[in-house]
Amino acid sequence: MPSSPARIVVEDLCKSYRVAASPPGGRRGLAGWLPARRSWRTIAALRGVAFTIEPGTITGLIGPNGAGKSTLIKILSGILRPDSGRVTVGGLVPWAQRLRHVARIGVVFGQRSQLWWDLPVDDGFALLRDIYRVPPALYRTRRARLVETLRLADFLDQPVRQLSLGQRMRAELAAALLHAPPLLILDEPTIGLDAPSKLAIRAFIRDLNRQDGTTILLTTHDMHDIEALAERVIVIGHGRVLADSPFETLRATTLSGRRLIATFDGPAPAIALPAGVSRLPAADRVLALDFDPARIGAADLLRLLAPPGTPAGTAAPADVTITRPSIEDVISRFYERHASTP
């Protein structure tokens, strides 16, 4: 069966690093010159990671710092070899068939540049055309499209070192896509960007996925990237897959609560709190309640605040807002919950 070019299968993936541990301070004086006995510690970065990613999807890979995300990305890109486990990307084993594999992926590291510092952007593109052996006619159309959608025209002739971060990231995205890879791996693509740049990058990634069917694997610490883009989230922690589900499922199982804030013209009334509702400290005229929508619906709670028949302007709240916990709160709670898991 011919594999689809971007299907990713990861099974039981393990990778550990050996790090040298020297006692702090070391030996005193000239004794420090003598060869010291170095002790080595093994740190398990990945211990039995498994998942499958179907072509044409956008998957978010998240996890706290040191969780193993970068190790996973490096293995999937073919630049790191795992200790054990199986990985295929479009039927190829990334590290064993590196040259064929890397010709079919595009990678953007938000913290590193793949463009040549001293070369104008367009010269860098031409170099990539030659590296990936893109036929000239195909290159012209792809380049023209990327220049237009990523708005690169104004700085194509500038050396990369003179670009702003936002410009550079747009150029980096174009650079990763000139050879039209079916799989695009993005490692923190929006790091350090201002809000308009982030929005532009997200819109571009979404369009790329919809129009070209490019499979996208994305790591980020900006949960808004996930909310805006990812259909599915894989949470990595302690080298394992802690969760693998649509983001809404993660939200529902982690932090499903809602918060109701009611402001009154006079002092907030004291009400009897039903099960699943707790009152938060707030100003006199404000009633702040956390509630679990699985146990009491928002409409029922509102009826409790202003029972039918209450004359307007007396006890009814002047203003009511109901909010969901922010995505940052959801993820922080999730990480906390798993922090103690060894």
Binding site: L80, V102, Q114, W116, D130, I131
Partner: protein
């Protein structure tokens, strides 16, 4: 076939162009090398007068040959393996070297082309300026005794050309080896500190190898760094012919092959256990 070479030619072109941009560095280097060459020549002239009385018929090289040797060495100073590619050293430190591994290219050839282009980009402007100065300007200024003399025959010039190309390839291979050491040790300092002084002394750049004590001559001629300067110079001076010429070129080719094979093996091992820096 051409298709297969496309990425490597592109790497060469890009590096050649960026290196050529450092015009001020090339001019400064040229001026320094003129100065250094002139001092060297005055010292040799004094020694020859003291030791051999005049042109030194008994010395391994006559004074005018030594002077030519000094100018060629100054002209080709950029041919020396001055260390790991600085861009790669930066990339290793920041982790951007990962991008070199993400290219569908043979990394050894990719780095070899970059190294060759960088050496040539530094070498060609400096060498042309030096040839013009020492070979054309000095004789016209009435300083013919201190000038660079052309090779005695076309054949010698051709042999020199072959020899210097072999030297260029060897130098690039050594640079690639230093790149690999940098990837392994995460710092360019160690490898550079070992190779640069070795290359400067053993290539004859500091002192023509023929002027070292007689007992060391065989070893000095056979060691790899001789191919980076001393052997090309001897071809230019017309002192290597026939069997000795073939032996010298064969020696250069053999070392080139050895360093290339060693580099490829080291790179394969390194990629096997590579850990890229940074999260």
């Amino acid at each position: 076939m051409m298709q297969a070479a496309t990425p490597y030619l592109a790497a060469f072109r890009a590096r050649w162009r960026t290196t050529l941009r450092y015009r001020a560095a090339a001019l400064a280097g040229f001026v320094t090398q003129c100065w250094w060459g002139a001092i060297n020549i005055m010292i040799y002239a004094a020694f020859y007068r003291m030791a051999h009385g005049g042109d030194g018929a008994a010395a391994p090289f006559a004074l005018h040959q030594t002077i030519t040797y000094v100018w060629i060495m100054q002209a080709t100073l950029a041919l020396m393996p001055w260390g790991c590619d600085p861009d790669i050293a930066d990339a290793v430190r920041g982790g951007a070297v990962a991008h070199d591994l993400l290219r569908p290219v043979d990394l050894w050839w990719w780095w070899f082309c970059r190294a060759t282009a960088r050496i040539l980009g530094r070498l060609v402007p400096r060498a042309l300026l030096m040839l013009a100065f020492a070979g054309l300007l000095l004789p016209r200024a009435g300083l013919g005794a201190w000038a660079l003399h052309p090779p005695p025959s076309i054949a010698d010039a051709a042999l020199f050309a072959v020899s210097i190309l072999l030297g260029l390839a060897l130098s690039a291979c050594i640079v690639v080896l230093l790149n690999i050491v940098t990837v392994r040790t995460l710092s360019p300092a160690g490898g550079n500190a070992v190779i640069t002084p070795l290359a400067l002394i053993l290539s004859g750049n500091m002192l023509p190898l023929a002027l070292f004590p007689g007992a060391f001559q065989t070893v000095l001629i056979l060691q790899p760094f001789a191919g980076l300067g001393d052997l090309p110079c001897r071809f230019w001076l017309g002192t290597l012919h026939g069997g000795r010429a073939i032996l010298a070129l064969g020696q250069q080719a053999a070392w080139l092959a050895a360093v290339a094979v060693a580099g490829r093996a080291a790179l394969r091992r390194t990629l096997h256990r590579l850990e890229i820096q940074g999260g």
